[in-house]
Symmetry: C2
Subunit: 486 residues, 2 copies
């Protein structure tokens, strides 16, 4: 079953195959593509024990964590199957002829169609959920786009075995060749985003890597959308009242969150704004484990040490939990005034098990410090119920894509309402890479004007054979099954 | 009432004002912003006679055309007021706590928020509908984004007078300062797209101009979305059967469409695929007027002459209707084989009253010629009811954003289902600049996790005080008023 060279098709061959698959793929129904995704999920599940052993060896992540991640990955494939069957993702709109409008409206019907072959750049830190068969691949396949994955070099064997499972799942239910491909290596990654057949790209990784690929996408003769998730400091604000009421509990939660997965989460809380002389800061050292699991790759380990070195060597930082070597968690603290003076140093993400406490005197210095932040995927606000936090909340909304009011930002649910994206540099576009609406990245609208009914896609027919949500003459109509249930 | 310097605020001042207005603007309700748009529409309507006189003087467009365009512009402002009041544009999604999901789902609620201050680059060819108070401005203001317009130098007086009317309309209903600004001049345009306060840009114009600004947007330290509508050849296909059945009628329709507005429409049919020895080609000369209105600007007139020169000087082109000087319409013809040999020459848009007939022998040469085309805003297919055109239709869908089955592409209705966009180079993003969904360009999602009910935006509250459409636990619920009516 193993295709020895399958994972290393070169870009030109993979792109040609994807281009050929694009037509049969866009003609496949949502039902059919749903079946493909479910078959991929089954195939990955069947390969699960083997995949997990490979991933443990390549990533050093713990078995329990990887089992959870694999379950998330197959659930995600099944969720996108359900999303496309529900049909809202097509954004079907029908305007019947209206000669009285200014200007007159012909018979106009709009639907979203697949954008074409998609390049997916896999991440290092989630070898299943953000890698070969992760959310980018699942959402692109779901809406009818062939996918070519650029595998992450951090887990090549896991990637190849996953690619085999994807291909097996697809062929088991008769999907055309070329629907899925994988390439490896730095040069392949560069060539992929520039290949004429590629119509969009999705990426999860570092700011420099994502920026370089985004620049290549923008510099093409025909620029293409680049949906990158790059870097994020995920600010946390703890008000003085919250610190008084539950500083110890917050310290325990924070310690657990910033060391999870050895701090190698895009949603790791990297900057925590706390009042001066906080209970949280006092209690934190006890809660931080002395060691985490080894980091994913030597280059991430090196980056972690370099980032900490920059912070630790600053004259006015204090080591709350000093860094004791390779995989040791650490916590540093600075006053808000120092933070503002060296804004660029302190607001740069350090990928690994560390977090920075920024001590504020009062609400004014807190606001000034918040305004120094660039965009993040998340922000978290710990306040007490009777506090007026509207202004603080507005600041956080302006700087992030998900605001949490309890708990901690690590852990990203896969659901309809999820948004995993935020202002630059956390993502490069106003879309999510997690959750149902991730599909929209790989679609483009097309309108049919005065089309004969027989030539319309079924989503745009008056009789609505699939019973999907449609907006008809301005009125949104829910799915037919929903109407019956309601 | 006239603010003499109002139109020439420099970029820094306009951007600072817009940044200050962003907060009160995003806090204004949809009802309130709807009122602003309606007041702008009234103010423009009141200034109508003066605006039309200025526009006639500056653009040479006919009074009737300009009156129609002004009516379209005010109708468009009112449509966006209705769109935001309906509330679907917020894409409100509520997922209640679900501990049984893989992974578990917290209380998650997603809504679209305004992206921030928007730069709008006005077009030359629609001094009202795609200029200072056109669709870009209306849709950005509607969703809560301050707007700074870069005025087009082709109609400065019309622009300034429109800007005054916009400001008057806004201040009459108490909108905050800075909601709307205007700048003029090439340097201001360059500075605007690079200004840190600007969060998105919209543009209608030429490919070189749009590309230059898009490149600046992508090269910023923090890249921003650039929604440009650049150039489009708007292919038309006339099958042999359609030509036999109604070649004369099609010739008359085509002549009317490609000379409309002196051919200065982004949807002008620029390339028409016809069978060899077509009735259409034979009948066309009679239908083409000998003269159109003067062109908009000397530089457009120069570009028109240069584009025609390139085509006419090719050895294998034939003048069906020769170009007889400045404002004279013209038609050239080539065989499909020649068209393919000099693909780049013949597929380059010539802005002005001209169209190119491409003669095909059979379906095979037609398909080959179609595959040489880049993306267009529209494509048009004239066939007979009994023909099998599924494959032809698929080719056109892949190359455009709106497919017409009767009539001609000039004339763009403003409605829910309209899509005015297409693959590169017709637009730079997968969004429309005309119609209800144009709003999505200026929004970004934000999710609230475990938020206290009192801190949620009203669109995300369980009790749904505005009665807007919401997706709740995966089920799309229409607007409450709709449910009652239905």
């Amino acid at each position: 079953m193993r295709e020895a060279t399958g994972g290393r098709l070169d870009v030109a061959a993979a792109a040609a195959a994807a281009a050929t698959a694009a037509q049969p793929m866009r003609e496949a129904t949502d039902q059919t593509r749903g079946t493909w995704l479910e078959s991929i999920a089954e195939s990955i599940q069947a390969a699960g024990p083997e995949l997990i052993d490979l991933a443990i060896e390549e990533t050093h992540l713990a078995r329990g964590r990887l089992e959870g991640e694999l379950a998330r990955t197959t659930a995600q494939l099944r969720m996108f199957a359900a999303v496309v069957r529900e049909g809202s993702y097509l954004e079907a709109i029908i305007d019947h002829l209206n000669p009285d409008a200014t200007p007159p409206v012909p018979d106009l019907r709009r639907v979203l169609i697949p954008i074409g072959p998609v390049a997916v750049y896999a991440a290092s830190n989630f070898p299943f959920a953000f890698s070969v068969a992760g959310g980018d691949t699942a959402s692109a396949l779901a809406v009818g786009c062939p996918v070519i994955v650029k595998a992450h070099p951090g887990h090549p064997l896991t990637s190849r075995r996953t690619a085999d499972a994807v291909r097996h799942g697809l062929s088991a239910v008769g999907a055309p060749d070329g629907v899925f491909g994988m390439v490896e290596g730095f040069d392949a990654g560069v060539a992929l985003v520039q290949h004429p057949a590629i119509r969009a790209a999705a990426f999860t990784g570092s700011i420099p890597g994502g920026r370089a690929l985004a620049d290549l996408a923008a510099a093409r003769p025909d620029p293409i959308p680049f949906h990158g998730e790059l870097g994020s400091v995920n600010p946390v604000v703890v008000t003085a009242a919250a610190d008084s009421a539950r500083g110890d509990e917050l310290a325990a939660g924070l310690a657990q969150s910033f060391t999870l997965g050895s701090g190698q989460f895009c949603t790791k809380p990297g900057i925590v704004f706390v009042p001066k002389n906080s209970n949280l800061e006092r209690a934190l050292p006890e809660s931080v484990p002395s060691q985490t699991a080894p980091m994913l790759t030597p280059s991430i380990e090196k980056g972690y040490a370099a980032g900490l070195g920059r912070i630790a060597s600053h004259d006015d930082t204090e080591a709350v939990v000093p860094h004791r070597g390779a995989d040791s968690p650490s916590v540093y603290a600075v006053d808000a005034s120092t933070f503002l003076e060296d804004r660029e140093l302190f607001t740069t993400e350090v990928f690994g098990p560390t977090t920075l406490l920024v001590r504020f005197d009062d609400e004014k210095t807190l606001h000034a410090a918040l305004q120094a932040l660039e965009g993040s995927l998340t922000s978290t606000l710990h306040a007490e119920p009777d506090e007026d936090i509207a202004h603080l909340l507005d600041e956080l909304i302006q700087r992030s894509g998900r605001v949490l009011f309890q708990g901690w930002p690590t852990g990203v649910a896969v659901s309809w309402a999820q948004h995993h994206g935020g202002p630059w540099p956390s993502t490069t576009s106003a879309f999510t890479s997690v959750g149902a609406t991730a599909t929209r990245r790989f679609q483009r609208p097309v309108a049919f004007q005065d089309a004969p009914a027989g030539l319309l896609p079924s989503a745009l027919r008056d009789e609505n054979p699939l019973g999907i949500p449609q907006r008809v003459d301005g009125v949104l109509r829910p799915a037919r099954a929903t109407t019956v249930r309601g």
